[in-house]
C-alpha cells in the first residue's frame, strides 16, 4: 500500500506540473479546451493525493513499523484517535497533509465556483496545482520529506507520539491552522488569475469572498485552539507566549483581517484595488513563511519540527512566489486605477484605511520582532532574544488603537458624515466607554493598559449594541414586526454587517480575557498529605487547597502519578482537583519520553484555578505544587465561540453576486483568440 502511496505522490507531482504548464503558457492557456483539462487535472491530483493519504493512514493503523514515519510517531499502544492525528504529528506527514488539503480545496474551487468566473479558473487551477507540486517536490526531492520511506529493519514497536501531542486539542488544532494557511492559496490563486487575465474588476473579489472568510475563520479557530492547547497541556499557566511559530500563525490572520475590511471599499467605491491585491499576495506569502518558520530551524521555537534542509526549498519558493506575484502586480499597476477618491476624514472608508494601517502595522511589528534577532546578529554580531516583554511593549498600544477603531468604524457613514450625525452616533458608545473607565478607576484599577482595554471594550460594545438596537427598531417601525422577528430579519438580511458586529463582540471579549491576565497570581508550595495552602484571588476569594495524597497506577500507554487536592473557596467545598505526571511507555513497558505533566483546572466565568504537580520531595508523597489563579480566561474561549458564530453568519450565502467582466474587458490577445 505504501508503494501505491509513493506512486500516487509522483503521479500528483507530474499532474501538478502539467496543469501549471497548461495554465501559464499563453498559447496553451488560450486554447478553448484548456479550462476543462486543467479542471479535470486538479480533480486527478486530489484523487491521487487522497490515495497517498489513505495509504499512510493504513500503514499507521496497521502498525507497519518498517515505514520510518510510522515507527517514529506511533506505537502499538497509542489510542486509536491519536493514531489518526499521528498523520500530521511529524514533518513528513504534515507536508502530505498540506498537499492533500490544498489539492482538495483546489478541486472544490473548480467544482464550486460559479461558471460566471470560468475565465479565471484555468489560472486558478494552475496556481493551486503549482503550489501542490511545490509541496510534493519538497517531499520527494529534498530527501527528508517522504512519509513512505522505509527502514532497513522492522522494529518491534514504534517510538510513540510525543505526550504533549496526546491531547484532544492536538487532534483538531493543527488541521484547523493548516486549513487556514492552506485555504489562503485559493484567494491568492484568484488574485493571480485576475492579474494574469486582466480581469481586474470586482468579479474576482466576489468569487473569493467566501474563501477569504473561510480561511480567516479556520485561522481564527486554529489560533484559539492552539491557545487552549498551550493552556491545558503545556502547563505554564498562559496561552500566548509570542513564540515565533505562534507569531507566524498571527501574521496571515492580521493581513486577512485587513483585507476583509478593505475589500468592502473596493466593492462599494472601486478603490484600494492595488492594496487589496497586495494584501492577498502578502497573506499567501506569510502563510508560506509560517510553514518555513516551523520547518527551517532558522528561528528557535518550541514548536519547530526537527531542523532539516527543506527550509532552503521554502526560502526559494517564497522568493519566487513573491517576485512573480509582485512583478505581475507592478505590470498591471496602470490598470488598477481607483474609480473614486476618499472624500473625507470622517468617513467609513477613512476609518477602514486607518484600521488597515493598524492591522498591517501590527503584522509588521510581529514580523519585525520575530526576525529582529537575525538582523541584530547580522548587523552587530550579537545574539539577542526578542520575547514577550518586547512584543507586549510594541503591540499593546497598537492593539488598543485597533480596538478603538473597531468601535469607531461602524459609527461613521460611507463617503462623509455630518458633525450632527457624529454627535448622534458617538454619544451612547462614548458614554458607555467613559462609564466603564470610571467604574474601573473607582474600583481601584490602576493598570493603564488593562483599564484602557476594558474601557475601549465598553465603547465598542456600546457601538455594537447601538447598531443592533437601532436596526431592530427601524425594522419594527417600518414593518410592524415584533422585536425578536425584527432582530432575526435584521441579521438574516444583512448577514455580512451584523455577523461582522458579532465578530467585533468576539474581539472585545478576547481583549477582556487578555486584560484579566494582568491580575494573575501564583504560588509555589510544598505540602505533606493533609497539609493546606491558601491563596487569595483577585476577586477577593480565598482558596484553600488540601493535599489528599498521591496515587500511582497504569493507564493505557502510561504510568500515571496523580496528585489530588481538595479545593475550598471561602470555606465552601468546590471539588477535588487532580494534576498528573505521566510516564509514557511502549507496549513492552519501556519508558518512551520524559515524564510529562497534566494540569488540573477548575474554571468559571470569573477565574481559573490552575494546579500543576511539580514533583515529589525525596520520592515521597510530600509534593511541590504551583497554584495559579488566572482571571477571565473563560472569556477567551467564549470569544472563540462568538467569533465562529459571527464568522458563520457572515459567510452564509446571500444568493446574489455580480458577474465577471465581459470578455471585451479582457486582454486584446484573448479577444482575438475567442473570435478566432
Amino acid at each position: 500500500m505504501t508503494l501505491l502511496g509513493q506512486f500516487a505522490l509522483w503521479a500528483a507531482l507530474f499532474l501538478g506540473l502539467y496543469a501549471a504548464v497548461l495554465a501559464f503558457v499563453p498559447s496553451l492557456r488560450n486554447r478553448p479546451d484548456t479550462q476543462l483539462v486543467v479542471e479535470r487535472t486538479t480533480y486527478a491530483i486530489a484523487l491521487a493525493l487522497w490515495v497517498a493519504a489513505v495509504s499512510l493512514w493504513k500503514a499507521i493503523f496497521n502498525h507497519d513499523f518498517n515505514v520510518e514515519y510510522v515507527a517514529s510517531y506511533t506505537s502499538r499502544n497509542l489510542p486509536t484517535y491519536y493514531l489518526f492525528s499521528a498523520f500530521w504529528a511529524g514533518q513528513k506527514g504534515s507536508l502530505l497533509f498540506w498537499a492533500v488539503v490544498l489539492s482538495t480545496f483546489g478541486a472544490v474551487a473548480q467544482a464550486a465556483t460559479s461558471r460566471r468566473y470560468r475565465p479565471l479558473l484555468s489560472v486558478v487551477g494552475g496556481v493551486t496545482s503549482s503550489v501542490v507540486a511545490f509541496f510534493l517536490s519538497v517531499m520527494l526531492l529534498s530527501g527528508s520529506g517522504n512519509p513512505f520511506g522505509r527502514l532497513a529493519f522492522v522494529p518491534p514497536d514504534g517510538n510513540g507520539l510525543n505526550p504533549q501531542l496526546q491531547n484532544p486539542g492536538m487532534v483538531i488544532h493543527p488541521p484547523m491552522l493548516y486549513l487556514g494557511y492552506i485555504s489562503i492559496t485559493i484567494p491568492f490563486a484568484f488574485a493571480i488569475a485576475a492579474l494574469l487575465t486582466r480581469r481586474l474588476d470586482v468579479g474576482w473579489i466576489v468569487a473569493i469572498r467566501r474563501w477569504t472568510l473561510l480561511s480567516w475563520l479556520f485561522l481564527s479557530i486554529g489560533i484559539t485552539l492552539g491557545m487552549w492547547w498551550a493552556y491545558v497541556e503545556l502547563g505554564w499557566g498562559g496561552y500566548w507566549a509570542w513564540d515565533p511559530v505562534e507569531n507566524a500563525s498571527l501574521l496571515p490572520w492580521l493581513t486577512m483581517s485587513a483585507f476583509l475590511h478593505s475589500v468592502m471599499i473596493q466593492e462599494k467605491r472601486g478603490m484600494l484595488k492595488r492594496w487589496n491585491l497586495g494584501l492577498i499576495i502578502a497573506s499567501f506569502l506569510l502563510s508560506i513563511f509560517g510553514t518555513f518558520i516551523t520547518r527551517s530551524g532558522v528561528i528557535a521555537s518550541v514548536h519547530s519540527f526537527t531542523q532539516s534542509n527543506i527550509g532552503y526549498f521554502f526560502v526559494g519558493f517564497l522568493a519566487l512566489a513573491g517576485a512573480v506575484s509582485f512583478a505581475l502586480l507592478y505590470l498591471r499597476w496602470p490598470e488598477l486605477e481607483p474609480e473614486g477618491q476618499l472624500d473625507s476624514l470622517a468617513s467609513r472608508e477613512a476609518a477602514f484605511l486607518f484600521n488597515n494601517l493598524i492591522l498591517v502595522g501590527i503584522a509588521f511589528s510581529v514580523l519585525w520582532g520575530t526576525l529582529f534577532p537575525i538582523l541584530s546578529e547580522a548587523v552587530r554580531d550579537t545574539k539577542i532574544t526578542v520575547g514577550p516583554p518586547f512584543f507586549n511593549r510594541v503591540n499593546v498600544p497598537l492593539g488598543l488603537a485597533l480596538l478603538a477603531l473597531t468601535g469607531i468604524g461602524p459609527l461613521i457613514a460611507w463617503r462623509q458624515t455630518s458633525a450632527a450625525n457624529l454627535r448622534r452616533q458617538f454619544t451612547a458608545p462614548l458614554t458607555t466607554g467613559l462609564v466603564t473607565a470610571a467604574i474601573l478607576l473607582a474600583a481601584g484599577m490602576r493598570d493603564f493598559y488593562a483599564t484602557m482595554a476594558l474601557a475601549l471594550g465598553g465603547f465598542v460594545l456600546g457601538t455594537v449594541v447601538q447598531e443592533f438596537v437601532r436596526g431592530t427598531r427601524a425594522r419594527q417601525r417600518m414593518h410592524g414586526e415584533n422585536m425578536l422577528t425584527a432582530l432575526y430579519r435584521l441579521i438574516a438580511r444583512n448577514r455580512r454587517r451584523y455577523g461582522g458586529y458579532l465578530v467585533h463582540t468576539a474581539i472585545i471579549t478576547y481583549f477582556v480575557g487578555f486584560a484579566g491576565m494582568a491580575f494573575s497570581v501564583s504560588k509555589e508550595t510544598t505540602l505533606r498529605v493533609g497539609e493546606k495552602v491558601q491563596l487569595k484571588s483577585p476577586y477577593g476569594h480565598t482558596y484553600t487547597l488540601t493535599h489528599l495524597g498521591i496515587s500511582q497506577y497504569d493507564a493505557l500507554n502510561r504510568r500515571v502519578t496523580a496528585a489530588s487536592l481538595e479545593v475550598e473557596r471561602d470555606g465552601k467545598k468546590v471539588g477535588v482537583l487532580k494534576s498528573e505526571k505521566r510516564q509514557h511507555v511502549d507496549s513492552f513497558g519501556n519508558p518512551t519520553f520524559q515524564p510529562s505533566t497534566e494540569v488540573g483546572i477548575t474554571s468559571d466565568l470569573r477565574e481559573d484555578l490552575y494546579l500543576v504537580y511539580a514533583g515529589s520531595v525525596d520520592g515521597t508523597e510530600r509534593s511541590t505544587f504551583r497554584i495559579t489563579i488566572n482571571p477571565l480566561v473563560w472569556w477567551v474561549w467564549a470569544a472563540g465561540v462568538f467569533l465562529v458564530i459571527g464568522g458563520l453568519i457572515t459567510m452564509w450565502p446571500s444568493g446574489w453576486s455580480p458577474p465577471i467582466a465581459p470578455l471585451s474587458a479582457a486582454a486584446p490577445e484573448e479577444r482575438v483568440q475567442v473570435i478566432a
Binding site: 505554564w236 518586547f390 510544598t526 502519578t561 508523597e621
Partner: protein, 197 residues
C-alpha cells in the same frame, strides 16, 4: 446557567476582578502530615526541593521574568522552572539569582551580572538602547508616519473639495422661500443620519 444569570455575570465580571487586585497575599498552614514513600518514584522525573519563601518572592520572580532560561526553551527562568520539570538549567539559574539576592544584590545588579556572564541574549527583551531602539521604535514610527500622512492627505482633499464646492454653493444659494424651520432642519438631519447609516 440560564441567559439571565449568564448576562448578569457577564456584566459584573469586569468590576470585581479589580476589587482585590493587589491582595495576592498568601498563607500557608503548617499542619504536619504524612510523607509516605511512592511506589515508583522513578516515573515522575526529577525530585523536587522543598519550596522556600524566596521561591515565591515577588522580587525574585520579577528578575526571573526578565531573563531567559538557557535550556533552549524560549521561556523566562520563572516560567521554565515552574513548568518544565525536566529542565536542569532553570533551577540552577534560579539558585544563582537567589544567591545573588541574598548576597545583597538587587534587580538591576543581578540582571547586569547575568548579562556579563551569559551575554545579551539572556535578556528576554533587548535593552532599549543603540541598535535595539530600531527594533522597538520602527513599527510604531512607521504606523505613526503613515497615519499622519494619510490624515493630512485626507484633510487636504476634504479642504480642496470644500473650496471647489464653495462658489457653486454660493451661486445656487437657496432663496428665502426655501428656508427651513428648526423643526424641519432637525427632521432633515435625522433622516440624513438614517440614510448615512
Amino acid at each position: 446557567m440560564n441567559r439571565r444569570a449568564f448576562l448578569s455575570v457577564t456584566a459584573l465580571t469586569a468590576v470585581p476582578v479589580l476589587l482585590a487586585q493587589d491582595s495576592s497575599r498568601t498563607q500557608d498552614s503548617a499542619v504536619t502530615g504524612a510523607a509516605d514513600p511512592l511506589r515508583d518514584p522513578g516515573s515522575i522525573g526529577q525530585l523536587r526541593a522543598v519550596t522556600t519563601p524566596l521561591d515565591n518572592a515577588e522580587d525574585i520572580k520579577a528578575i526571573e521574568r526578565r531573563l531567559k532560561c538557557t535550556c533552549g526553551c524560549n521561556l523566562d527562568i520563572f516560567t521554565c522552572r515552574t513548568t518544565d520539570f525536566t529542565c536542569t538549567y532553570s533551577p540552577a539559574l534560579h539558585k544563582e539569582i537567589v544567591d545573588l539576592y541574598t548576597g545583597g544584590k538587587r534587580e538591576e545588579d543581578i540582571v547586569a551580572a547575568f548579562v556579563t556572564k551569559y551575554g545579551e541574549s539572556i535578556l528576554l527583551a533587548p535593552k532599549a538602547a543603540g541598535f535595539n531602539l530600531l527594533g522597538y521604535l520602527l513599527p510604531s514610527a512607521l504606523v505613526l508616519v503613515a497615519g499622519t500622512v494619510l490624515g493630512l492627505v485626507l484633510l487636504r482633499r476634504h479642504r480642496d473639495r470644500l473650496l471647489a464646492a464653495a462658489p457653486a454653493g454660493a451661486a445656487s444659494a437657496p432663496s428665502a422661500g426655501l428656508e427651513l424651520s428648526p423643526e424641519q432642519r432637525a427632521q432633515l438631519d435625522r433622516a440624513m443620519g438614517e440614510i448615512e447609516q
